[in-house]
Amino acid sequence: MAIEILMPALSPTMEEGTLAKWLVKEGDTVESGDILAEIETDKATMELEAVDEGVIGKILIAEGTANVAVNTAIAVLLEEGEDAANAAVSAPAPAADAAPTAAETAAPAAATPVATVVPEDTEIPAGTEMRSTTVREALRDAMAEEMRRDETVYLMGEEVAEYQGAYKVSQGLLDEFGARRVIDTPITEHGFTGIATGSAMAGLRPIVEFMTFNFAMQAIDHIINSAAKTLYMSGGQMGAPMVFRGASGAAARVGAQHSQDYAAWYAQIPGLKVVMPYSAADAKGLLKSAIRDPNPVVFLENEILYGRSFDVPVLEDYTVPIGKAKIWREGSDVTIVSFGIGMQYALEAADKLAEDGISAEVIDLRSLRPIDYDTVLNSVMKTNRCVTVEEGWPVASIGNHLSATIMERAFDYLDAPVINCCGKDVPMPYAANLEKLALVTTDEVIAAVKQVTYR
């Protein structure tokens, strides 16, 4: 029976990849462990090894083909005695038969590629050329531009230099800026975060990359006690102008210790600024602002969003101010406030609600400290209803804080209690179905909106 060789998922969030190179040709005999092909993902180039032995009967996907979805049959392996002509090859394996893949389990994120139209931005001059850019590239571009601009800016973290970034965010930076300014560290977050903070106190402007913010827990004392408080403790004499950046929140199937959103944690700390962009343009503009900011900035990214493309204005120096929310979609019946990947559910929900005749205004907070209360309050005073959406846990969430603020400052405008859509109050489970259940979903947002609009 012929065996189909499928496009593998090589990382928790991989949905598709490029079949860069075949190392075997039709008719070759292969043994288990032989290298068949090189697959390029958005993170790295990986080798595909043969699991079974046999003869390569047919190559179905030519080398150089991009955007090959995970689980697509890419070749047929014949067992002894079979030949390519009569080997029954089915159509590309239906996803339903396959083991749950990263793409599926990241379902809330990956379900349908949302053709998100970025609303017109008053900060961008009319007629500016827009270029489709991934969040990953936008972050890299922001760092490169700021490193060109300011000699004291450097990047430090695990695998940021020679490996080109664990999530490829720092790709190319070592080549351009050299090992003095793009610095690989040992896996010792507590220590290197302290060193970077000390260097900021002495006048440098470090960017500390945490492979993910889960690992920043080892360094949180320096983020809060050393970086955030120094300006105050020194009576304004010195502070720590620096950026702590990396992925926060759930990726896909990486379990409890690697799936946690830190938005609400850091948003509580006076002395820190906290931003969490959704789009690539905001990722770029906010990161540039964060690097220039004379204060420590916690910059929360999202692994699932790294590969998403958005229009980014082609401007020589595009920055987005910290502390300003963005209205993505205007509406009159309800205000949906979100940030980071929560925006995806908020926008999807708004699209579907529109089909039911409910007009939702969608606000991306972008900055969690300081929070742009005015934009939220003005919107709620108009719509009289509010739903918040975030991936983090429900207790002491950003949504809780917004609810309290709205109650204090716009109580008389409310026609319904504010509802907070959050991640479930459990450690992240590994099982695909349970993980899906633990995350906030578009359907939950829709249900919450219907509840506050009494539909």
Partner: protein, 331 residues
């Protein structure tokens, strides 16, 4: 702590010896005054006195040059005085007044001076060690040949982040001197009850960092060892560890009942190894100055300390608006 033989004779000049005498005496008298003010309720919260350890910071600061940097823990008053910060500003910070180095918002444990390159004043045990390596990182990055001093105690020497820092400091050849002020007690826990190995100066060996044990009660020994360490650092050879064996006469903080050691133990160190008494003997034995000359210095120091104490009481409390300032720097 075994009693160590002190430098018996000295070729050190009168001027230098008198300088050490003056500097160490300032720290001691300042700390005694702080203790008094604490007792009077003028200083609140935590207050960790440096009395007994004066030779360490005095000997080291004798070697530092312009733009060298220093950072330490919460037992920081001596370090600030030794690097030239104004006793008035330090005392007024202790009393939480507007004239303090941090406008009264930092307190005993959190003072800084950009001008004197004093980077705090840190209350989390061990945190100043990577921060100090970071100061050195900045100098190396900018191509300066400056040296940074990261001070920590025998308690902090068991902190994990210290070893992460040793590794990176050695790997990247950072010009940082790790000064372990081993005063024998981490709060109330003696070193032998907390450290698996006694010789803290060897703790960098696994990372290729040279270390040396120094009699921290002997200002001349401290200075000599520091000169060697600084030369090593300035030459680009990377970090260096100096373990200063010393002793604190007072409790860990003001509220320390001191049940963990005997009165006799403290008394013995005071009588046999006191750093100020040692320099005093060298001065008198070498006929560098008379008893009367030293008395005149004592008087002078007393006046400086009293002036600082007066200032710290007269300086007003910070304006209420100060609650909301210095949280963010303006872009």
């Amino acid at each position: 702590m075994a009693a160590k033989k002190k430098t018996g004779k000295s070729n050190t000049s009168a001027e230098e010896l008198l300088g050490y005498y003056r500097d160490m005496l300032l720290i001691r008298r300042f700390e005694e005054k702080a203790g008094q003010l604490y007792g009077m309720g003028l200083i609140g919260g935590f207050c960790h006195l440096y009395i007994g350890q004066e030779a360490v910071i005095t000997g080291i600061e004798a070697v530092t040059e312009e733009d060298d940097k220093r950072i330490t823990s919460y037992r920081d008053h001596g370090h600030m005085l030794a690097c030239g910060m104004d006793p008035k500003g330090v005392m007024a910070e202790l009393t939480g007044r507007e004239g303090g180095y941090s406008k009264g918002k930092g307190g005993s444990m959190h003072m800084f001076s950009k001008e004197k390159h004093f980077y705090g004043g840190h209350g989390i045990v061990g945190a100043q060690v990577p921060l100090g390596a970071g100061l050195a990182f900045a100098d190396k990055y900018m191509g300066n040949d400056r040296v940074s001093f990261a001070y920590f105690g025998d308690g902090a020497a068991n902190q994990g982040q210290v070893y992460e820092t040793f590794n990176m400091a050695s790997l990247w050849k950072l010009p940082v001197i790790f000064v372990i002020e081993n005063n024998q007690y981490a709060m109330g826990t003696s070193q032998q009850r907390a450290s698996s190995t006694p010789d803290l100066y060897t703790r960098g060996a696994a990372f290729g960092i040279p270390g040396e044990e120094v009699d921290g009660m002997d200002v001349l020994a401290v200075k000599a060892a520091t000169e060697k360490a600084v030369a090593h650092c300035r030459a680009g050879e990377g970090p260096y560890i100096l373990e200063m064996t010393t002793y604190r006469y007072r409790g860990h903080s003001m509220s320390d009942p001191a049940k963990y050691r005997t009165r006799e133990e403290v008394q013995k160190v005071r009588e046999e190894r006191d750093a100020i008494e040692h320099v005093r003997e060298l001065i008198l034995a070498g006929n560098h100055a008379s008893e009367d000359d030293l008395k005149a210095i004592d008087k002078e120091i007393k006046a400086v300390v009293n002036e600082a104490a007066d200032f710290s009481r007269e300086s007003p409390e910070p304006a209420l608006e100060e609650l909301w300032t210095d949280i963010y720097a303006e872009a």
